[in-house]
Amino acid sequence: MIYSLCLVLFILGLYCVLTKKNLIKIIVGLVIMDNAVNLFFVLLGYRTNGTVPIITNDAEKSMIMQHSVDPIPQALVLTSIVISLGILALMVSLAIRLYEKYGTFDITKIRKLKG
């Protein structure tokens, strides 16, 4: 059930990318897709009544395996969040550049004006 709601969020972002004609809406749809995929990865690694994978004193050193959540998806998602910030900076700079050249954010008009 929770995985299906995560998939619904991903499909909303995909629908936004495929149907909208405004460039900013396409960029926002990509960001929603990024967030949905990151949430899905962390949901896969959750253990019921699990604890944070941080060792605080020596007594926990041997017992952390029994009740901690999965640390590997957290490492992968950390990388993915920072990369999506870099992608957003590049996309927005390209959108600003296109607006200064064509005067509009509408992608149908950008195809018609040549040169």
Binding site: V52, I54, L78, V82, A89, S93, I96, E100, G103
Partner: protein, 152 residues
């Protein structure tokens, strides 16, 4: 880019140093508590963005010029890569191995432990902070040919 009203300027003047201090704390304790290089670097960049928004672009350029932010950015990446290659050059260790931890291990739960993790956190923090500030400055300074003056 113009600044904001007097109240915002006074508060930003007081608060900006504490934000940088908090960012440095999160970078240095990256191997003991949640946080790490990326979060701390973005927080340090946020402090300089606060100065840009509150005082205008000239004051932020006096604190950290464009050339300075580019130099810091490249220095962060070079430090990260140099630590990796140093592991390969030392005889007997592999590329990117934690050679500091093997030769001089600290005691756990301190700051001065875990060798290469501390150095890499600092390098990543410097890199992310400087590059996000330079991107924000470039976005704020972009001149528009249609309007003919500075964008705000």
């Amino acid at each position: 880019m113009k600044g904001m009203s007097q109240i915002v300027k006074v508060i930003a003047e007081l608060v900006k140093d504490f934000i940088i201090l908090f960012g440095i704390y999160i970078i240095l304790n990256g191997h003991l508590s949640p946080g790490g290089g990326f979060a701390g670097g973005v927080i340090i960049a946020a402090s300089y963005i606060l100065i840009t928004l509150a005082f205008g672009r000239e004051r932020a350029m006096k604190e950290l010029s464009e050339k300075g932010s580019h130099i810091l950015d490249n220095f962060g990446v070079l430090l990260f890569w140099a630590v990796a290659v140093l592991g390969w050059l030392i005889p007997g260790q592999a590329f990117f191995s934690n050679f500091i931890q093997r030769f001089a291990p600290g005691s756990p739960y301190n700051i001065l432990t875990s060798g290469i993790i501390l150095v890499c956190n600092i390098a990543i923090g410097i890199k992310v902070g400087a590059s996000l500030f330079s991107v924000f400055t470039a976005l704020a300074h972009f001149e528009s040919p249609l309007k003919g003056d500075d964008e705000e």
